[in-house]
Each structure stands twice: as C-alpha cells, then as structure tokens.
Symmetry: C2
Subunit: 219 residues, 2 copies
C-alpha cells in the first residue's frame, strides 16, 4: 500500500502551481479557478461567461465521475478537457499543468477550471490560477458565509447564483450580507440567475474588466 505524506502532497502541489503560473505568464493566459458546492451552478457560470465574453476560451472540467459537464461545454463549441478524479475531492496543480500542455491554448486566452463540487477542500490547493471565483447558490441557504469561512475568505469573487428562487427558498439577504461583512467580503459578491438571465450582463462586464487588466489576483 502506498503511503502518502500530507506535507509532501502540499509541497508537491506548490511546485506544480509555480509551473502553471510560469506557463500562464509565458503564454499570457488568464486562469480562473471556479469553486463551489455540488449543483451550485459552476458549469452554468462558465457557460454564461462563454456566451458573454469575447475572449478565446478553454475549459478544464473536474469531476469525481462522468463527462456530463464537459459535454455541456463542448456543445458551445469550446475546447474542453474532462478530468475524473475517481474519488479525490479537489484538483491538484500537476493535473492542471498536464491539461494546459494538452490544450495548448493560443496566447492571450482565458481558461476556466471547474473544480470538484466541494465547499471545503479545493480552497486549500493552489492551482497557479490568476483568480478564484466561488459560485454559491441561494438554495444552499443564507448561513454559508458563517459556516464555510475558510473557503469564502480564499476567493476573489462570490457569485450568488439561483437568485430567482430566493423567495421560495426563504433566503434572508440581510443575514447573508452580514455574514459576508464579518469576513470583509461585502463588496465581492454579485447576484445572478443563470435561468432567468438576471445579473448575467453585470457579472460578465465585471469579469471582463478584471480579465482585460490581466493582473493575477492571487500573488
């Protein structure tokens, strides 16, 4: 039986992340790591940005199993690589490094990484990304910033999705806002419904302005 040492795993991952960063600098790539719970709307977010942004886009799809999400992306005519982790609860930098070599993206491209559906583990693993986006659905409840502080504090933008079901779910916006405020994140959250389209234009404009500035937000 193989013995893995956690310290080595994190050190090894940091080396991989440095490699990804160098690759992105050399090829002028903007890399967005998309985090969130299962069913939060990560694929819908990426699909929406593909439709709204004028950039040349590639996608790296992470899942425990299945190619469902990769098929949704490929249907939009975008080049996509599916990574099935088997059981692993997060993506690691070495996998991203390999995927980038396979994709061979043209200079100046935008790359989305859809991480494993998990509000806990992925935020501990640096993938060498330029920016981290957390997609969190109102259906998960208004208490998430109070309970999953580590992940909320580890991202650059929170996309509060499924805003159209706020009322039927009984989501308390004021309580949620206070939770974000306690973490200093009240200005980092945008609401959107990918079903009705509400908020999509504002979200894509905001993201476009960050991508155009081309500055890595993670260093």
């Amino acid at each position: 039986m193989e013995i893995k040492v956690i310290r080595d795993i994190l050190e090894q991952n940091d080396l991989g992340a440095d490699q990804v960063r160098r690759f992105c600098q050399d090829h002028n790539l903007f890399l967005i790591n998309v985090l969130g719970s299962p069913g939060a709307g990560k694929t819908s977010f990426i699909q929406s940005m593909i439709k709204h942004l004028s950039a040349n886009i590639y996608v790296i799809e992470g899942d425990i199993a299945s190619t469902i999400d990769a098929e949704r992306i490929a249907a939009l005519g975008v080049q996509v690589i599916q990574i099935n982790t088997g059981g692993a609860c997060h993506l690691i930098a070495d996998t991203i490094s390999d995927a980038l070599l396979q994709l061979a993206p043209t200079k100046g491209s935008l790359i989305f990484i859809e991480n494993i559906g998990n509000l806990v583990c992925p935020s501990s693993f640096d993938l060498g990304e330029s920016m981290r986006v957390l997609v969190s659905s109102v259906a998960e409840g208004d208490d998430k910033p109070y309970k999953y502080t580590t992940t909320f504090q580890a991202v650059d933008l929170i996309v509060l999705s499924k805003s159209d079901v706020k009322e039927v779910i009984g989501f308390d916006s004021e309580y949620y806002r206070k939770g974000l405020q306690a973490l200093g994140l009240e200005n980092k959250c945008l609401e959107v419904s990918f079903r009705t389209g509400q908020g999509e234009a504002a979200l894509s404009s905001f993201l476009a302005s960050i991508i155009e500035a081309g500055k890595c937000l993670r260093v």
Copy 2:
C-alpha cells in the same frame, strides 16, 4: 511540522469506529450518520425526525465553524454537542467516541450525527454508525447520482429534499431515477419537503421501522 500519514489516519479511524460500535452495542444505541452537501437540509431532516419520532434523541453536530445548527437543535429541547473541525472536511470516529462519552446517552437512545457539509469526503470515514442517510436537495440538480457515485453507493437511504422547488428548479425526476437505478438505489430514495411537510410522515414511519428493528445496517 507534524507529518501525518494517510494509511495511519484510516487505520486509526477504523479502530475508533470499532470503539463506537462497542459503545453502541453496550448501550443499545442506534446511531445515524447524516451526510450531504452544504445546505442540502441535513439539520432540517434531524429537526423533523426529532418532532416525528418518539425515541429519546441526542445530536452530534459537525461543522467547519459556527454553532448555528446546534442552536437550532437545542431550541427543540434536545441535548446536542457541537464539533467544529476548523478546516477538516469530515468527522472522524475518535471525535464521535469522545462525544458519546460526553453525552452519556440513556440506554436505547437514538443518536444523529450531522457530518460536515460535503458530498465527497465523509463517506470514506466509518464512524461506527448503525445507518447512513444522505440528504440531497433537488436544488443541487438531477445529475448528482451520476457524478457523486462513491457517496451515493455508500449510504443506506437517500432523502431527496426540497421537493417543493422541483418545478421552479427544472429538476428531471426521470433522469434522476435512472441515475439511481444504474447504481441499484431506486428503492432507497424518499422525497420530502421540510418546508411544506410533504413526505415527512412517510419518511419518519420508514425510519421508525428501521430503528425499531434495531439492526445495524453497516456491518
């Protein structure tokens, strides 16, 4: 820096799980490990069962941070212990062992463990439980049995929650059922809405029959 070895972590956990099992046998306890994504409705499930079941109930609440869920349980007059893992993405058996000693439940009691909100990691860790229940919300989408196969296959009952928002979410029941069927789980799923109360009586009757039989489903 401490070096943790994964093999030792799993072996250590199995020893702890055996200890929990012995404690439960000695005290005639029925222990239910409740798994699910963030915001799936795990606490609502436990609250509902507290209201519907006539058993003497105790609750062990797992969260990364906060005491929000423990307060919801305590408000029902039930003895509860909150475990905050800091960053850890699942509960371990040793923690349950300690919690049981602290709770000192009377013989013949029913104990609910609410695991960390995470559809991936908790299912790999045996807590010495008598039964595993997965709470999964329709808001997470109808593709979950296809993507999170490991966790779906590791449970004894699936509670499909928030059934009242099926239509507004666009949940495809037939696609979901086929996903369960592919895993041999089509008879292990009950639908419920803890908001409208629909399905609660059937769910609690079903659970009561299992608990009355008193047979551990995990050995």
